[in-house]
Symmetry: C2
Subunit: 202 residues, 2 copies
């Protein structure tokens, strides 16, 4: 949920069932339109049309185009952060949590790579999103650092820096190969990421 005070805050909270559905329809339509047309050509008119609504209705729920984008981005961040939190909650050895985390990340990003790219690369990233993004990443780094430090099989090193690079490497490679790279399925991608990270910290 976006912060209370922000030019990207959704406009009003629906009172009727119908309105909730409408808002949801707009969000889903926006996801499809952005994925298909990119940010610049993902016009509000197109989104409204895709949602089967008039442009006026769209602007009842969102004060501007970017507000829709922010909702989509925040949703993705929230989902990812939740996943990471769950996998890294308990101290466990690397060989248990790393494959699990890798698989989860690959899965989350394979879902709609084109939309993901629009949200986090192509489109302008408003402060709201940037802040949440860094926060989520910081959380992940901290959790990884804790697990590295608690693992008796690993040599004591600069776990803080290692954690940063572990997260960065995983995130980068997942983004890089998300969607369909020719000759590289999800399983192979996971295997390779696991290998790289394991050897790095071992």
């Amino acid at each position: 949920m976006p912060p209370a005070r922000s030019p990207y805050r959704p406009r009003k909270t629906p009172r009727q069932q119908r309105a909730w559905q409408t808002r949801r329809r707009i969000e889903q339509a926006a996801a499809r339109v952005f994925a298909r047309h990119g940010y610049a050509s993902g016009t509000t008119d197109r989104i409204a049309e895709e949602a089967g609504l008039s442009i006026g209705s769209l602007y009842q729920y969102f004060p501007n185009k970017d507000a829709i984008l922010v909702v989509l981005a925040q949703a993705h961040l929230e989902q990812t952060a939740e996943t990471v939190r769950a996998v890294l909650a308990e101290p466990r050895p690397l060989r248990l949590w790393l494959p699990e985390l890798t698989r989860a990340l690959v899965r989350v990003h394979a879902e709609d790579p084109r939309l993901h790219q629009v949200l986090f690369e192509q489109a302008p990233r408003p402060p709201d999103v940037l802040v949440r993004f860094h926060q989520a990443e910081g959380e992940a780094v901290a959790a990884v650092e804790r697990l590295l430090r608690a693992d008796p099989d690993l040599a004591p090193r600069d776990h803080g820096r290692q954690a940063r690079f572990v997260v960065a490497t995983m995130e980068s490679l997942v983004h890089r190969f998300a969607g369909d790279e020719p000759g590289l399925d999800a399983a192979a991608l996971e295997r390779e990421i696991i290998t790289i990270v394991t050897r790095y910290v071992a």
Copy 2:
């Protein structure tokens, strides 16, 4: 240099000194404007103004906005490809070429990370650029694969796949940390990349 037939091909080849300078002024102004304002707000009017020219002059040299962007992108690709080619030309052991390549990549990308981001993430990448990009990357992968295969210190593995991930990892991490990450200077970035790649292929 962009392909001969393309809606992004520069419009005419200058005949006079003055014209060459003008074209150069436009390109440099565009680089600054794109870096400062991003793709969407990097308008042709702004570029012309930054170059100290009228908008009409700009359109004497470039048929449209994206053509300017293509020239900038191709220049970067050419420069990078040339560097990679030089460093990976001769078969040498990993511990020699890897640090050199890493340093070169970090240096190239530290130059103007904001512009780089606009060119290769934010802006639409026209086919001209995409093709050249994949070609350059393919070259790099092939060269790395050759060196890995020729290195007697390395265990025989799937060098093709390894090469792909080596290039992807280096590229991703350089992009990720290009510019000024707080608490991470260029030397530290290089060291960490070298560590990750070395352990991966060793």
